[in-house]
Symmetry: C2
Subunit: 299 residues, 2 copies
Amino acid sequence: MKLTVIGSAALDSIETPAASRKDILGGSSLYASISASFFSPVNLISVVGGDFPARYLRLLEKKKIGLSGLEIKEGRTFRWKARYDKDLAHARTLKTELNVFEGFRPLIPKTISRRDNLLLANIDPELQSYIFHRIKPEGIVACDTMNLWIETRRKELLKLLKKVDIFLLNDAEARQISGEKNLLNAARFLSSKGAKMIVIKKGEHGSLFFSKGLSFMAPAYMVKKVSDPTGAGDTFAGALLGYLTGTKKMSSRILRAALVYGSIMASFSVERFSAEGLLRVTPANIRKRYEHIKKLTEF
Amino acid sequence: MKLTVIGSAALDSIETPAASRKDILGGSSLYASISASFFSPVNLISVVGGDFPARYLRLLEKKKIGLSGLEIKEGRTFRWKARYDKDLAHARTLKTELNVFEGFRPLIPKTISRRDNLLLANIDPELQSYIFHRIKPEGIVACDTMNLWIETRRKELLKLLKKVDIFLLNDAEARQISGEKNLLNAARFLSSKGAKMIVIKKGEHGSLFFSKGLSFMAPAYMVKKVSDPTGAGDTFAGALLGYLTGTKKMSSRILRAALVYGSIMASFSVERFSAEGLLRVTPANIRKRYEHIKKLTEF
């Protein structure tokens, strides 16, 4: 079984108080694919422009990510420019250029089976929905989102969340979509809208998993230094779905491990800019942090 | 073995967006004593004025808290007036009246043994230090503090933390005392100053325990509704020390359980104003939340 990942592929320009980097590998589908590739085979569906550096494509190929669904279109790659505040807690978007994503309607290559699992990584819910209906997936489907879509595509998003198995969003977004301050109430709101399984990502405070009520609280793995939080949520979602795909089944035990692997992969991601942290990780590093966090949280 | 608790005894006036209450039972030593009393015998050392309601004394007696060290002094009880913001995350102190605490130097009653454990609940480090040197404790000693003392009694506090076994503070205070944003670095700073065991309380995000490096991450117990966060940290410290006193020894397993009981008791405390949440708890309620959080966090 494989995992199909759709979402954005971008060139990010990121400023933090410590450093600033231009046109680095970014986008929800790339973070998620690289993260998932440690656990299962991955096929990517996305689009880049002719200016997308070949060396980035080679990095994805090295991770054995299937690129037959990655369209290379005439024009410029999607770009996102942002600045983080001094706590690295909030990114302020300085500029978004949709570029080749404007009106993008991908073809689904034959290598992608409806029986594969599907991660609708963060992108316009209209595009997520389009892909969902083209693939007619029979595997596990997860959908991630962001504040922008809650604001501008609320109706589409509420329609989509009924159809998927796992709906992911962060704590601020859970509060935003529900109008509830308390996360238990926010999750109850999402359930009432038809969400089956809900993952609320709390960044450095871990994540909450709901399936008919709160059923697991996953810890975050603490790192000594955060360099760039970009893509942490995408990385988390990629590892979660990658792990579920790799194990080929879904029990409470497997789901819990998948969420913890989400935390672990996110911890590697934030330690360096772009996907550099993820790209230098080895399976042994991942295993070590998993065992460590298990020891740190058992009682 | 018993636990001796010293700290403030107060009449609080609390305003939250939902309600406001005047002259309710408060103070670090009262929250901590009531919380600890579920796990071990407790002796209290503190002071109140003649205006302290007899019904509050009866509540403490009902919990079998030894009151021979509670001085009833002519004058008014210590008072604290505060208003919480809409997230209930930050309290703004509107008024503090030291009253009978001004220059308070308690006598140590004979019922208190130096072999008992000792909790120096949050109060001026000069008073904590005075008590420490009068008792010359041979049991486990823990010391809690707050932002005010870090600001105004830094030197005294840094002297005291070397002498105690467990030093407690919250995340904001750990950042304040160390000048480090990252809590792992903040704890390393405190270790370098001679702290042996460190507990960083993160409120709704649980707590971190350090003993030569990070060694346990305790989850918080999520509640549906927070009414009044006052005393949550004192309640946490009380349960931690109460549990350690009740079990009569200290292993890694016992320490971890003690920290989780800290979270549990704090969850009961914040659900109602003052100590009302704690006072209506039963050992069965406590056990139930402990089992529940264990199930919610195992992987």
